[in-house]
């Protein structure tokens, strides 16, 4: 396997913050670089002209593709993963992972490194201009193995997933294997793959498309990606700061250092702080990314200039989804199926839940324990989940970035009342933290008898103590 041959372990390559092409102030090179290795399939295809066939091919080694691959492999299936890149750690993306995601990763053997490296915060503060309007304290809940959430850079999450893959002989992870064409038919998919050694072809019984929000596979299949595109741009900055600073999440509506917009500050591991600055639709991205504009705002937020800028980039956000998640033997999973604006941190979190929903179903189908119609339940349940997540993050985006003057007046009225009343605090929406979706589809047969426990139909089972046959509690 490529990753093994690159030294068995992912090796840090570069963590500098030098200016790079097209990234304004700072571009970080990849943190972890892996090697390309020629796959036996390439020789087989060259020799016979016949594409070797695999039961499961996953396209995309992002958090979602790796999760679904690990889950399927741990259930005894052979999995090929193809990724067009050979590195992780480029760019700053997800930083917040929730309990349900951590529980799934824990089952797959990667929960511990994530939780050990990740950090949590408890106190969140929301400001309107200079005034603290709302402060909340997320007290840790007892009785759960996994914390409610952790902050962890996405590249660490990806690194731990790669390291887990290296331990699993059933996964064949191929870097710099870019899928350039697919031919989907009723009982399989033929893929054309570009590599540094030239193209080759393989066949898959099932193809899982985890190729991200821009999904080239979705485009190859001419599938629509519909939804709302927000005009506002956001500037994301990561700064390193070792100074004493409370580990709290601070959110400003209409900050004094950035009138009319919003700003968010929260901590990640390695003394890195994530800053999100809303720029508004009219902002000129070039100007906004200039150091002389970015640095003073950060100085104001932190109250000093004792920090080092590690990464700056601009994003605009969308809430869109694909109409159907399953097309014959091609299954969309993660961002390729739904793009969710980051308020509430639902992107990767919901993708990991797609992965877990899909893995056991596909495993049943491949083992002949269920027929392919089971896949319709994946489509139904995860479509519902996508709608729910998109609904939440759209409402957060609307609250954070009001679209008209009157919307802003209403929003600020809530913030004003939040400092004075409890009901208004419940309306303040600087991102609703992601929770696992409760499936209300037809597959959750209704209870016929009353039940008083906290477990709900269609929802994950809460952590509980089990008693063994010998009467021991675990």
């Amino acid at each position: 396997m490529a990753a093994t041959e690159a030294g068995g372990r992912a090796a840090p390559v570069n963590a500098s913050a030098n200016a790079g092409p097209g990234m304004g102030t700072g571009s970080r090179k990849a943190f972890y670089q892996f090697g390309y290795a020629r796959a036996a399939d390439q020789d087989a295809f060259a020799a016979t002209g016949k594409p070797p066939r695999h039961p499961i091919v996953v396209v995309g080694a992002g958090p979602v593709g790796m999760t679904v691959a690990i889950d399927l492999a741990m259930r005894g299936n052979e999995v090929v993963i193809l990724d067009d890149a050979d590195r992780i750690g480029e760019g700053s993306r997800a930083i917040c992972f929730f309990q349900r995601t951590l529980e799934i990763w824990d089952r797959l053997g990667v929960g511990k490194p994530m939780v050990d490296k990740g950090i949590t915060w408890q106190v969140g503060k929301d400001f309107l201009r200079d005034d603290l309007v709302y402060q909340f304290d997320l007290l840790p809940e007892d009785g759960h193995k996994m914390p409610a959430f952790i902050n962890l850079q996405q590249y660490y999450a990806e690194l731990y997933l790669v390291e887990r893959i290296v331990e699993l002989p059933r996964i064949d992870l191929r870097w710099r294997n870019k899928v350039s064409a697919i031919d989907s038919h009723a009982d399989g998919v033929r893929l054309t793959i570009e590599t540094p050694d030239g193209p080759y072809e393989i066949e898959a019984d099932w193809l899982i498309a985890c190729d991200g929000a821009k999904s080239p596979l979705r485009a190859m299949m001419d599938l629509e990606f519909k939804g709302e595109v927000f005009d506002d741009r956001f500037l994301i900055a990561d700064v390193k700061m070792t100074a004493d600073f409370p580990v709290e999440r601070w959110f400003w509506f209409d900050p004094p250092f950035h009138a009319g917009q919003s700003a968010l500050l929260q901590k990640q591991p390695d003394d890195i702080w994530r800053i999100d600055l809303q720029l508004g639709p009219e902002a000129d991205p070039e100007t906004e990314q200039k150091l002389e504009n970015v640095v003073p705002r950060i100085e104001w937020m932190l109250g000093h200039s004792n920090f080092e800028l590690k990464w700056v980039s601009l994003y605009s956000f969308q809430c869109r989804r694909i109409d159907r998640f399953v097309h014959d033997r091609v299954v969309f999973c993660g961002d390729s199926a739904h793009e969710i604006s980051p308020f509430g941190a639902r992107g990767a979190n919901s993708g990991v839940q797609d992965a877990e929903n899909l893995a056991w179903k596909l495993d049943f189908i491949l083992k002949g324990e269920a027929d392919t119609s089971l896949m319709a339940t994946y489509d139904a349940e995860r479509s519902d989940a996508a709608d729910e997540n998109i609904g939440h993050s759209t409402r957060s985006t609307d609250f954070i970035a009001p679209k008209t003057e009157m919307e802003r007046t209403l929003r600020n009225a809530v913030l004003h009342l939040a400092a004075r009343t409890e009901f208004a605090r419940a309306m303040v929406n600087s991102g609703r933290l992601s929770q696992s979706v409760t499936y209300a589809t037809d597959f959750s047969t209704p209870d016929t008898e009353a039940f008083s426990g906290s477990a709900k139909l269609g929802a994950p089972v809460p952590d509980a103590t089990l008693r063994t046959a010998e009467g021991r509690e675990t």
């Binding site: 007046t409 209403l410 600020n412 009225a413 809530v414 009342l417 009343t421 309306m427």
Partner: protein
């Protein structure tokens, strides 16, 4: 589901009307909008029924 009450409930309708108008007196348009926004949220929470709020919005939005 509760119905929106549209029959007179206030013992002194004139006083209620004047109370609201007085509250706006001396405010410019912008501040008036702010006052209205705050009032709407306070009263909506006091009502505490989404369906009543929905009926009130529908009635208020007639011809808009």
């Amino acid at each position: 589901m509760m119905d929106l009450i549209t029959t007179s409930q206030l013992a002194a309708p004139d006083a209620a009307y004047n109370m609201i108008v007085d509250a706006h007196r001396g405010l410019d348009e912008k501040d008036s909008a702010v006052l209205n926004a705050r009032l709407v949220f306070l009263l909506a929470n006091h009502i505490g029924e989404l369906s009543v709020l929905e009926q009130a919005i529908a009635l208020a939005k007639e011809e808009l």
